[in-house]
């Protein structure tokens, strides 16, 4: 009896869908930075990315380990080095958190997560050349401390094949976030937006707004 050719087993291949990606936000948490804080959340969400920040980390956890884990969970990170000056609150000190977390990211990218992409944002042109000479050769994205400037720079830093948001669309997401901002603060019983609960609510709001504005 002639042998039947062996049929390949009909294995249903699992449906492959691209996963979503996160962006780690390494930004200052102070009242003067509130507008840009909201703008970062709006802009990152408008690019279809999930914003993540050290704010999410409960104070009970060992902060440094969680920051390292958080950076590794993210495909991208944005480091804003706008606050390099000495603050007025005594004792006068500069803020080291942002440059420190940038250093951690660079080290992780070189050793542990080679695919990780990071960018540096600044308010003033040429200041980074003075404040952090180790980053010579890295061009910062200078947003001039304005919301529109930040959206312009995010548009320069990131590209999407589909659904690339325009500056106007990012502004629209930002305005929706601004309009709901006080309600979110009130519900959380917070006076400032730099806490875990408010951050989470703002991120979901921004993503919902981005779905409506950018995708539709």
């Amino acid at each position: 009896m002639p042998r039947q050719p062996r049929r390949k087993p009909n294995r249903a291949s699992p449906k492959r869908t691209a996963s979503t990606e996160s962006a780690f936000l390494n930004i200052p948490y102070d009242a003067a930075f509130e507008n840009l804080y909201l703008a970062y959340i709006a802009g990152v969400s408008a690019f279809g990315l999930k914003p993540r920040a050290a704010l999410e980390i409960p104070t009970s956890n060992r902060r440094l380990e969680r920051i390292l884990a958080l950076i590794q969970e993210c495909k991208y990170s944005i480091h804003d080095l706008s606050r390099v000056e000495v603050d007025r609150t005594p004792p006068p000190t500069p803020r080291f958190n942002m440059p420190f977390e940038l250093g951690l990211t660079v080290a992780l990218e070189k050793v542990v997560i080679p695919g990780h992409a990071w960018i540096v944002c600044e308010t003033m042109r040429f200041r980074l050349k003075k404040s952090l000479t180790d980053l010579d050769g890295t061009d910062p994205y200078v947003h001039d401390g304005t919301v529109r400037g930040l959206f312009r720079e995010l548009g320069n830093a990131f590209v999407r094949n589909q659904n690339q948001p325009t500056v106007d669309e990012m502004m629209k997401v930002y305005r929706i976030l601004r309009a709901n901002f006080k309600g979110v603060l009130y519900r959380a019983g917070a006076t400032h937006p730099f806490n875990a609960r408010v951050f989470r609510d703002l991120c979901v709001l921004a993503s919902a707004a981005a779905d409506d504005v950018v995708l539709n």
């Binding site: 869908t17 691209a18 996963s19 979503t20 990606e21 996160s22 969400s45 690019f47 279809g48 990315l49 999930k50 914003p51 993540r52 999410e56 495909k75 991208y76 992409a117 960018i119 890295t138 061009d139 320069n156 830093a157 990131f158 590209v159 999407r160 094949n161 589909q162 659904n163 325009t166 106007d168 669309e169 629209k172 929706i176 309009a179 709901n180 309600g183 989470r200 609510d201 991120c203 979901v204 709001l205 921004a206 993503s207 919902a208 707004a209 981005a210 779905d211 409506d212 504005v213 950018v214 995708l215």
Partner: protein
Amino acid sequence: MPQPIKVRGRFATAYDTAETLGVSPSRTQELIEAVKKMTQGVVYRSSNKSGSFAVRKKMKAGSPATGVGMKKKNSARHAEATKKKAQSRVAKAHR
């Protein structure tokens, strides 16, 4: 200028973000509803030629957005003001 970073992943929806950040489904739904309330009836128009972007909102008559209790600013009001100004000038000329 550095090369832009290509974002290849799927566009994250509000549900994706909520799941990652640990926001409850009921709260997520609440936030989505809040956004929908704001964007309902908004029409986005962009012109290919100029790249301009217009946001138009369909407003119901008497809705808070139309300014209930506020004095209407219409062309007649402006015309009245102009007329008054013209009269006073004429009056001055006749003095």
